[in-house]
Symmetry: C2
Subunit: 143 residues, 2 copies
Amino acid sequence: MTKTMKEMDVLRDHLAKHQLKLTRQRELILTAFLRQEHITAEAMYHQLAKKDPHLGLATIYRTLNLFCDAGIAQARHFGTQTQYDNISHKGHHDHLICTGCGTIVEFENCEIERLQEEVATKNGFVIQTHRLELYGLCSRCRH
Amino acid sequence: MTKTMKEMDVLRDHLAKHQLKLTRQRELILTAFLRQEHITAEAMYHQLAKKDPHLGLATIYRTLNLFCDAGIAQARHFGTQTQYDNISHKGHHDHLICTGCGTIVEFENCEIERLQEEVATKNGFVIQTHRLELYGLCSRCRH
DNA sequence: TATCCTCTTGAGACGGCTTATCAATTTCAA
DNA sequence: TTGAAATTGATAAGCCGTCTCAAGAGGATA
Ligand SMILES: [Mn+2]
Ligand SMILES: [Mn+2]
Ligand SMILES: [Zn+2]
Ligand SMILES: [Zn+2]
């Protein structure tokens, strides 16, 4: 999978490898998803209702989970809902979340990632994934 | 609140400050909770069913949430369930979780915590809480 | 210790979010 | 073009945690 491979091709590749099919719905949802940094299934459902009023919510969930399997998205539980992060452009990143207004700031810190590896190694683990979320108040919400 | 204060006194203190009452159930649940590193409400429900078959699940949830308010426990969402961590002895800590066997290793890394503050400050945030979970395979599960 | 206002409990209903079910439809390899 | 296999949409079901409310318990006060 080369760096220049478009996400649609990443999806096609994953589908082929798993005997899955490319459907009109999957194309539609991928196109919409790639315009987002992160989105919930429900939000995408409402957003796409304009283009295809018959698109089912279950299909959105199934498809976003498919994107996770294909490495295009990453699920993240926030509050009671699941956010689907678009990691196709930015790659891995963590989140800073304002508990006041819900603003989400994405960040990446190599030093933290390195220390995580160090902690894991020290305990005999090999890391597969991780989750780091910082909750607090943004400057606006503190006033 | 001194360092040597026993957890039962921490609870009593919190109850007094908030016009809450010390009940038989709260004492029972606290005693059981202090024997754990972390536990789910459901698991505690089954564990305590032997001692008190009439103890309700809602009471367990309410009481564990009370412990969170009192600073004795800390809720952590893991998978679909909520784990209540016993932070009374150890204080804040993060988790290394084996995706193979479910083993959980607790750790604390000051350097990571410091870098988190740095990231927050850089983005104008003041951190209230955070969550760091490393998922991977322990040495046994890799073989 | 008895009083009595308030807090707590237990049982089950309820609610939000996600997945399972299944008949009808679509995809795509042959 | 054909047909087996995957997918879809509607909705039921499931899970987990909270809410409701009548009955019961705690504890400050006298
Ligand atoms: Mn993101
Ligand atoms: Mn723990
Ligand atoms: Zn804010
Ligand atoms: Zn393991």
